[in-house]
């Protein structure tokens, strides 16, 4: 927020009328950042990890961002090929600059400057490069048990409404294999949960050990994402499996089994639960470790 140090009117006219022609180094650096960001998005799109971040119905937008960033980035170096006034300061420079030559100059010149601006502006470039750097340094991984620290899992269907994207309630899906979200939908539509006992269940999710329940129990968990990971909410089924302690948290598993009457002792129930209420418990017959699925989140 500095005041312009030239006369305001002159400055304004120039702002309005004449383009301040930025140096090729500046242009090249911008172009490189824009193109790099576009390529980063593209790599996530084609590498299959984009589903770790956003709902798949927004993949098209990411593609648009890729195309847009590349187009915008490529518009920079080409602009230097326009004829210039002879007295222009950069007349001695090559008329057409490719990103490579600019990159070269950029890196060639950088070590000469140890002034304060150097450090300040490097921070600026780093901020823009931060998504790329973080994305490359930290291996992509979908949300797991660590994200549950701030998102409570709740098995009480009546108070757990806040955890359940209600858009699910509008979808009726009775055919085919049911995932965890479909089962929650079924729970919501079923007045008497005991009628579900004996239903065969085959779901996938990651393992989460909830300290509120006994050692033989774990949660098979999925995140539901309607937009991006910022709005992820967790859904889970309580699984009874004697070897539960051997399962590692965050391990993805396929659980086969049947719903059985809740046999949790009152001490195992979350505090505040009504004595008459029992969460439906999935008694597992088999548990198979699986790879992280290509679409780790469920979409309402």
């Amino acid at each position: 927020m500095m005041q312009p140090n030239t006369e305001p009117s002159t400055q304004s006219v120039n702002q309005d009328a004449q383009t301040v022609r930025p140096s090729p180094i500046q242009n090249g650096a911008k172009a490189i950042l824009l193109i790099a960001l576009g390529l980063f998005l593209y790599s996530r799109l084609t590498g299959g990890t984009l589903a770790f971040y956003i709902n798949e119905r927004f993949f098209g937008y990411t593609l648009f961002a890729f195309v847009g960033l590349i187009a915008v980035g490529l518009s920079y170096p080409l602009i230097r090929s326009h004829p210039r006034r002879k007295s222009a300061p950069n007349a001695a420079r090559p008329q057409t600059l490719t990103p490579q030559t600019i990159d070269y100059q950029y890196h060639d010149l950088a070590p000469h400057d140890h002034s304060r601006d150097h450090r300040l502006t490097l921070v600026g470039a780093l901020v823009i490069a931060l998504p790329i750097l973080l994305g490359l340094l930290v291996p992509p991984r979908p949300l797991g048990a660590a994200a549950l620290e701030t998102r409570e899992l709740n098995l009480d269907l009546r108070s757990g409404g806040a955890n359940l994207p209600a858009a699910i309630a509008a979808v009726s899906q009775d055919d085919g294999p049911r995932n965890i979200m479909d089962w929650w939908h079924t729970f919501q539509r079923t007045p008497d949960l005991t009628t579900l006992e004996g239903s065969e269940v085959n779901v996938q999710g990651f393992v989460y050990h909830d300290p509120r329940y006994g050692e033989e129990y774990f949660m098979v968990t999925r995140f539901v994402v309607s937009c991006c990971t910022a709005d992820a909410s967790a859904l889970a089924l309580l699984v009874h499996w004697p070897q539960a302690p051997a399962l590692e948290t965050d391990q993805w598993v396929e659980v086969r089994g049947v719903f059985t009457p809740g046999d949790l002792s009152p001490a195992d129930l979350p505090p505040g639960s009504e004595a008459s209420w029992r969460p439906p418990v999935l008694t597992a017959a088999s548990i198979t470790p699986i790879e992280i699925p290509s679409h780790p989140y469920l979409y309402p």
């Binding site: 927020m1 500095m2 005041q3 030239t6 305001p8 009117s9 400055q11 304004s12 006219v13 120039n14 702002q15 309005d16 009328a17 004449q18 383009t19 301040v20 022609r21 930025p22 500046q26 911008k30 950042l33 824009l34 770790f52 937008y61 990411t62 648009f64 961002a65 847009g68 187009a71 915008v72 518009s75 006034r85 300061p89 010149l109 000469h112 400057d113 304060r116 601006d117 300040l120 502006t121 600026g124 823009i128 931060l130 998504p131 973080l134 994305g135 991984r141 949300l143 660590a146 994200a147 701030t150 409570e152 409404g161 806040a162 994207p165 209600a166 858009a167 937009c227 990971t229 910022a230």
Partner: protein
């Protein structure tokens, strides 16, 4: 954080008429400084040598940002280190943080690209006289026009910022811009459709539109009498003044007129400058939002947030923290509809699109800090009151 570098070289070497660039970007500062140094040593003189305008303010700005970032990181990860949660837990926390950060960022980037492109094409193809002809200048019509402008420019909360800045530089009245900034993320076709898909044509749908419209127009009205230099950053304010001042000589282009292709390319370059200017704020906002998400327990907030009054505040805070794009927040609000009051849902769906962590940070690339503060405070208070009154007296 934007280095609003005046470019004195341009005042010395006037050139053919071209659309205005955004020169103030920090990489530019660096590159210019580099060139300046080299030119200085090698040739001794040259227009590229820039005077060093007060670096302290820039330093201060970057220092504050770095401090903010540091504090955010310490807050998010500090407790793991201090309680000895182990390296594994810390690593998982980092992965969660990065996944949420990239989630918000990847979700928002397409909208910022679109907004920057709209801004670039406005810069090159829209004449100032167009705005003068179509935008009313009197207080009330101007505010209303601003609140409805989103129908012409369908942008969400990320795209609206570059468009607003460009329109300000083309001489848009203050009140119109403020109303547009606040209302456009809701008053546009895409958000109408998503809200309708989630809630149908009910109380929520109409309430969301009407409350947004009223609040945005009122806040715009508040800023009607403000002078541009009190609201806008100096560089934008100068461009605004130039656009509004008819006594200034208009540039008469010399040489051949640029072709449409050349102008389009220039529009794209301008879009790139805009994007680079804004994306830093977006990234900082995403970092903050992801940090808050890794730290603040949603369930705690939601458990506290029952009751007709506190529920409104709770969902407003949640909307601010979550920073979910306005095009999809209706689906998110559905998740709360079973347990929360209608007034609080309306507050969530109207306050969140107007201001949240990332958009408030992006406002800083257009508006002065004080104004951004008011743009958070005024809508928050008004929507809180509307939500509470709704819960207590309407109660649908």
């Amino acid at each position: 954080m934007i280095s609003d570098q005046p470019e004195p070289s341009s005042t010395r070497t006037p050139r053919a008429a071209e659309p205005s660039y955004h020169v103030g970007m920090n990489l530019g500062t660096r590159a210019d400084a580099l060139t300046g140094t080299v030119t200085g040593t090698v040739t001794g003189t040259g227009p590229l040598i820039r005077p060093r305008p007060s670096r302290q303010s820039q330093l201060l700005r970057w220092g504050l940002s770095a401090l903010l970032l540091g504090v955010a990181l310490v807050v998010v990860f500090g407790d793991v280190l201090s309680t000895g949660g182990g390296r594994l837990l810390l690593w998982q926390r980092v992965q969660t943080f990065v996944t949420i950060f990239l989630g918000i960022f990847i979700e928002a980037v397409p909208f910022l690209v679109a907004g920057s492109m709209v801004s670039g094409f406005i810069a090159v193809f829209v004449d100032q006289t167009t705005i003068e002809r179509f935008i009313p200048r009197r207080a009330l019509p101007a505010s209303i026009a601003g609140a409805l402008l989103g129908i012409v420019f369908p942008v969400c909360e990320c795209g609206v910022v570059p468009v607003t800045r460009r329109l300000y530089e083309k001489g848009l009245p203050m009140s119109v811009g403020i109303s547009f900034l606040l209302a456009a993320p809701v008053i546009n076709i895409i958000v109408f459709a998503s809200t309708q898909a989630a809630f149908g044509f009910g109380v929520i749908f109409w309430g969301r539109i009407i409350i947004t419209f009223v609040v945005a127009a009122l806040v715009g009205l508040v800023f009607h009498l403000a002078k541009p230099h009190q609201i806008l950053l100096p560089k934008i304010s100068a461009a605004h003044a130039a656009a509004c001042d008819h006594t200034l000589p208009r540039p008469s282009p010399t040489g051949p007129q640029p072709t449409t292709g050349q102008r389009s390319r220039r529009a794209l370059t301008t879009a790139g400058d805009d994007f680079i200017d804004m994306v830093r704020y977006l990234i900082l906002g995403c970092l903050l939002a992801a940090g808050m998400q890794t730290l603040v327990s949603q369930s705690a907030l939601l458990t506290i947030g029952q009751g007709p009054i506190i529920s409104v505040v709770a969902l407003q805070l949640l909307a601010f923290v979550l920073s979910v794009c306005s095009t999809v927040d209706a689906f998110l609000a559905l998740a709360f509809s079973a347990t929360f009051t209608t007034g609080s849902l309306l507050a969530f769906l109207t306050f969140g699109p107007m201001v949240d962590i990332k958009s408030a940070l992006m406002f800083l690339s257009v508006l002065q800090r004080r104004v951004v503060f008011y743009l958070i405070l005024l809508p928050f208070t008004m929507i809180m009151l509307i939500g509470i009154v709704w819960n207590l007296y309407v109660g649908i």
